[in-house]
């Protein structure tokens, strides 16, 4: 299904990030213009004052929104007071390029941002989980590129049994069958609606390979032992996709421990979770996702890494800042401490890194976090 994709190194991720930032900035400005925020904030006002004036019910989210606007340069902060300074709303060339690479993602954000004002005013969150999101993003060049690079890390062969946790609408399953030709796949999701669509997608597009896939509804936080669903099968290649932001931090260890019980020793495992936060705060990237019922915020890097280690996997390596790779190891790894701040300087050339950069702008090496600091 995938077209030949670019090597990841050729992708200008900082440029994509800039395109995304300018897009979010533009959409946020447009949304808040419609809500009259620039007029309300024409002079310095506190968040509490604004909450009262605008009849805001979700204080935490509203605070995050204002902080995001400060980061985007749309609102000026003076101590605890804020004032609208505005910003350009023209479409940038970087946005246009982003559109070519990831159009459905852009459209999704627009849908979410539209719902944000209602959410701030206390309307109940929406159960979006649109299958359309998952049916469409798999075909974007950006997703293909990221996905292929992550999956290659597993070294899947014709003898591999894959456990796919969070199979959504089955496109990863379809591409695994097509590209990597594993022995079989156990595709798991906690959402029955997604599983129905996944099954339909696989049956429609690869009817001759449908027999290789077992679809199972399961939530790894539940008390039901998943090994019972697998009978004697021990998957040796594990893909955990976009899972942790639907759970509380306290559930991570439970999910991972339950996962460990049912997989083969030394199984390779990747956690595709591109949005991992360094600090416990909302970024403007995740702001719109709070529109969805059940969204718990992106996992904190240190919490997720240490949950993986404590559950008995090897210390995960974060690659391309997009996924974590680990193994079901028997060795006990030590928990690590990770600075809440992303690295400021490139490990290779010492050049100063841009905020949230994936690549060093000087030597083009990949920015990685330092995971070698055992906790006392």
């Amino acid at each position: 299904m995938f077209a030949d994709s670019l090597p990841l190194e050729d992708l200008d991720i900082p440029k994509i990030a800039r395109g995304l930032t300018s897009y979010i900035k533009r959409i946020l400005i447009q949304t808040l213009l419609a809500e009259g925020l620039p007029d309300i904030l024409n002079d310095y006002r506190s968040i509490l004052d604004l909450v009262h004036t605008m009849n805001i019910k979700d204080l935490k989210l509203f605070r995050e929104l204002i902080v995001s606007l400060v980061k985007l340069g749309v609102v000026e902060q003076n101590g605890d007071l804020f004032k609208w300074i505005g910003g350009e709303i023209r479409v940038t060339s970087e946005e246009e390029e982003l559109k070519i690479l990831a159009e459905p993602w852009i459209k999704i954000l627009q849908v979410y941002f539209k719902k944000l004002p209602d959410l701030l005013k206390g309307k109940t969150r929406l159960q979006l989980h649109e299958p359309g999101i998952w049916d469409s993003i798999y075909s974007t060049p950006l997703y293909q590129l990221l996905w292929v690079n992550a999956i290659k890390r597993l070294n899947i062969t014709g003898d591999s049994t894959i456990l796919e946790v969070g199979c959504k609408t089955g496109w990863c399953t379809i591409n695994l069958l097509n590209i990597f030709k594993p022995k079989n796949i156990i595709a798991v999701d906690s959402n029955q609606d997604f599983l129905n669509i996944a099954e339909e997608n696989v049956s429609n597009l690869l009817p001759d390979k449908r027999f290789k896939v077992t679809f199972i509804k399961h939530d790894f936080t539940s008390e039901i032992d998943f090994t019972g669903c697998l009978q004697d099968t021990k998957p040796d290649k594990i893909i955990v996709s976009y899972l942790f932001h639907w759970y509380n931090e306290s559930d991570y260890l439970n999910i991972l421990s339950n996962l460990k019980k049912c997989i083969a020793e030394n199984a390779d495992i990747i956690f595709i979770q591109p949005h991992i936060a360094y600090k416990n705060q909302t970024t403007f990237f995740q702001l719109p996702l709070y529109v969805e019922e059940g969204f718990k915020g992106y996992p904190l890097l240190e919490t997720l890494v240490n949950s993986i280690i404590t559950a008995g996997f090897s210390a995960p390596k974060r690659e391309y800042n997009l996924y974590l790779y680990s193994k079901n190891s028997l060795e006990n790894a030590k928990p690590v401490r990770i600075s809440p701040d992303p690295p400021k300087y490139c490990k290779n050339c010492g050049g100063r890194l841009q905020e949230n950069a994936f690549f060093c702008a000087y030597c083009r090496s990949i920015v990685d976090f330092n995971i070698n600091l055992p906790l006392l």
């Binding site: 159960q127 359309g132 129905n196």
Partner: protein, 229 residues
């Protein structure tokens, strides 16, 4: 999530309204009396201040919300996240109904004609929920074709345009079953303005039943077409 039945029950146990989303063989009057009795029993017998919120048997859940005059109960299949969502929808519904019929509810004589337009309030509150829920299976849609209607609301139409109109995956599906793209657009445009049965669609668009059912399954599973009774 899959919706089966919605009950709106007066606090004295009398059934005010029942809506079935999928075929079930339950008697609305018996069920509403049972659900009301269960709520009262839990209030009296269980050592907790709150009222009954969810009961569960296998996959089936009954989600309750309680207002000043009304109990609402939804029989469905739902996971934890979906229960929260459905609970919110039921709370919205209870609030809207108690506001709209506040005078009637204070001293209800038992005359169901007092609740004019209740179906519209329910349909409006549950419009998105119905769109997002699992449709009845294809066999049921085909066997009981006269009781199911198909429609497309604004959100469903937007989902199609945003995610599917130009999507590689949807085009692959259409190609596999030799369904022309133009036919899908025409069908959705038509269902935006009318509720049609399977036979009416088949006749109007001159499509083979098997192909039409495949297309309907695809579009209902994705929350584009809504199925209602």
């Amino acid at each position: 999530m899959k919706l089966y039945d919605l009950y709106i029950i007066h606090r004295d146990g009398r059934n005010i309204f029942h809506k079935g989303f999928c075929e079930s063989n339950l008697d609305a009057t018996i069920i509403s009396g049972f659900l009301s009795a269960l709520t009262e029993f839990s209030k009296e017998a269980l050592p907790s201040d709150g009222l009954l919120n969810v009961i569960e048997k296998g996959n089936i859940k009954v989600i309750f919300t309680h207002g000043s005059f009304l109990h609402t109960a939804l029989i469905c299949e739902a996971d934890r996240k979906e229960i929260i969502y459905l609970n919110n929808r039921l709370a919205d519904l209870t609030e809207r109904l108690e506001k709209s019929y506040s005078e009637v509810l204070k001293e209800w004589s038992g005359d169901l004609n007092d609740f004019k337009n209740i179906e519209e309030v329910v349909s409006d509150t549950f419009r998105e929920t119905v769109r997002l829920s699992q449709p009845p299976n294809i066999k049921e849609l085909a066997d009981k074709r006269s009781i199911y209607f198909y429609s497309v609301d604004e959100d469903g139409f937007n989902i199609f345009n945003i995610f599917y109109k130009d999507s590689v995956s949807f085009k692959l599906f259409l190609k596999n079953f030799s369904i022309p793209e133009i036919l899908v657009s025409q069908l959705l445009n038509r269902l935006k303005t009318a509720y049609l049965t399977l036979d009416e669609i088949r006749k109007e668009f001159n499509i083979e039943e098997e192909t039409l059912l495949k297309l309907i399954k695809n579009l209902t599973l994705r929350g584009i077409i809504s199925v209602c009774r």
